[in-house]
């Protein structure tokens, strides 16, 4: 069992209990694997896509064609689904702050950035309309910053976040974080096997709430490892999180 396996399962866990909604993993192999693993194990009602606009009837391996198609979700309907809310998105971020504000737009001053990134994409609308979790493959003070340069995804301290705002968890290569504090600031929920609380604190650029007892992230079951191997036979997940 590798660190990447632990990360995929921790990401999959964000979808537990979601029911019959779209589990949307965006960017990289691990978010996609997480949605597919959850659907194949403890969250069978989830909907997943082929990475484009097909809702797949079964759950194919990474890069493989589905055995069948159960629905059509072109971009226009995907954008509708965000507003409708029956979707939980697991996405990356270049910067995240203590209240879950995220940035994927640019680094530096927005008016003339030091580094132009993607642009906000759908993240502003995602975060105020459907449940949102983050996957950060390299937990570091460069990502976990006191203040993001451009608020793309909306955090818990922003006025206007509205009644459908629902940031769930942040999974990283070191730990699982959540917002289960009185002011919804970030809290250490569990550390992955082999990681200490100090490792996490040293790699987080803002004060993190640490509970008296920090649990270890749960290990993948044998069944989950078997499913994971069939979903990702070329071990693409290890490229995102080297052991």
């Amino acid at each position: 069992m590798s660190r990447a396996d632990v990360c995929v399962v921790a990401c999959a866990e964000t979808f537990r209990g979601d029911g019959e909604i779209l589990a949307a993993g965006i960017g990289g192999a691990i978010t996609v694997l997480a949605a597919r693993l959850a659907r194949l194990t403890f969250a069978p009602d989830l909907l997943t896509t082929d990475g484009t606009c097909l809702l797949t009837a079964d759950v194919p391996a990474l890069g493989a064609d589905p055995g069948g198609v159960e629905g059509w979700l072109p971009f226009r309907d995907h954008l509708w689904l965000v507003l409708h809310g029956r979707r939980h998105v697991l996405l990356g971020a270049s910067q995240l702050d203590r209240y879950g504000n995220s940035n994927i737009s640019c680094v530096g001053d927005w008016s003339r950035p030091k580094s132009q990134l993607l642009g906000v994409r759908g993240v502003p609308g995602n975060t105020v309309n459907n449940p949102t979790s983050y996957w950060i493959p390299k937990h570091s003070p460069r990502v976990f910053v006191p203040r993001v340069d451009m608020v793309s995804g909306v955090g818990y301290d922003r006025p206007g976040r509205g009644r459908f705002h629902d940031l769930r968890r942040v999974v990283t290569n070191l730990a699982v974080l959540d917002f289960a504090t009185p002011d919804h600031s970030m809290r250490l929920a569990s550390v992955h096997p082999g990681v200490t609380v100090n490792d996490v604190l040293e790699n987080t650029g803002f004060p993190l709430t640490v509970p008296d007892e920090v649990h270890q992230t749960r290990l993948p079951t044998e069944d989950e490892l078997r499913v994971l191997t069939s979903l990702d036979p070329r071990n693409q997940r290890a490229r995102e999180v080297p052991s």
Binding site: S105, V120, R158
Partner: protein, 277 residues
């Protein structure tokens, strides 16, 4: 009545300072033959409305752009668009950055001749800060909710690339996703469609694939390979090797000069021959 035009006719009818909407999504089904022709023209100061890909990048590379209105600019398989980055980081262009859902509502508003449409997308984010002209509206009903009033994304011209079209201007997509192309056509004063193949009868695909009606179309151009190097499923996929070469060409002034000389110094026929090697 035939609306068939040559590429140069389309671009010859455009003017500097216009607002131009470009269909497709990222590095998918972009009207690149028309974009390349704009790059060859003397046009400048364009406002470009796009789910941005290399269309935006190339127009920036050739100094055609005053403002980009977009939620992102990406090459999809390569996340960051190199020329858009350069233009932003050098302060060469203005940028109206919208959330994707806001952007779609802006197109929908324009397509329905509404001044704006309300949405939650954008609230609480810096999209509201960086676009100081954006306004909110309060629901007139008992909920009283405050929402973003996304202004209509009206445009002078829309440029689209579809798989098939007829000479009257009806156009059909055969790939899995229509993107938002029909909304661009409806949001524009004039719409030009380039296509892989002109047909006399639509024999491929179901009736739902007839995305664009001739009543929305000003002119049609047959440009085989006209979306290259973006994808145009099912006629062809994205040319990933060429896209990587485009990215690498942006790493120095010399390499860009060589790339532009090799591929972008002649007309569309020269381009297609250079790509074929």
């Amino acid at each position: 009545m035939t609306k068939v035009l040559a590429i140069e006719d389309v671009v010859g009818g455009l003017e500097s300072g216009m607002t131009v909407g470009i269909g497709g999504w990222g590095s998918r089904r972009k009207p690149m033959a028309l974009v390349r022709a704009i790059c060859r023209s003397s046009l400048r100061d364009l406002t470009v409305i796009s789910f941005g890909g290399p269309d935006v990048g190339l127009l920036c590379a050739f100094g055609k752009v005053r403002r980009v209105i977009a939620p992102f600019v990406t090459l999809d398989s390569i996340p960051l668009e190199p020329w858009f980055r350069i233009a932003r980081q050098r302060g060469l262009i203005e940028f109206t950055e919208y959330d994707e859902g806001m952007f779609m509502f802006g197109l929908l508003a324009a397509a329905h001749r509404l001044p704006f449409l309300p949405t939650r997308a954008g609230l609480g984010s810096d999209v509201m800060t960086i676009n100081p002209d954006l306004r909110t509206v309060r629901s007139p009903y008992s909920d009283g909710e405050e929402l973003v009033a996304v202004p209509a994304l009206t445009m002078d011209v829309a440029l689209l690339h579809l798989n098939r079209a007829d000479q009257r201007g009806n156009a059909q997509y055969l790939g899995p996703d229509p993107y938002l192309d029909d909304l661009y056509a409806k949001a524009a004063t004039r719409c030009y469609v380039s296509c892989e193949r002109l047909v006399t009868e639509f024999k491929e695909g179901p009736v739902q694939s007839l995305l664009i009606s001739r009543s929305m179309v000003t002119g049609v151009v047959e440009t085989p390979g006209g979306a290259h190097f973006t994808s145009c499923e099912p006629d062809y996929g994205r040319d990933e090797a060429f896209q990587r070469a485009y990215l690498e060409a942006t790493t120095s002034a010399d390499s860009w000069r060589n790339f532009a000389q090799r591929y972008l110094s002649g007309d569309e026929g020269d381009y297609q021959r250079a790509v074929a090697g």
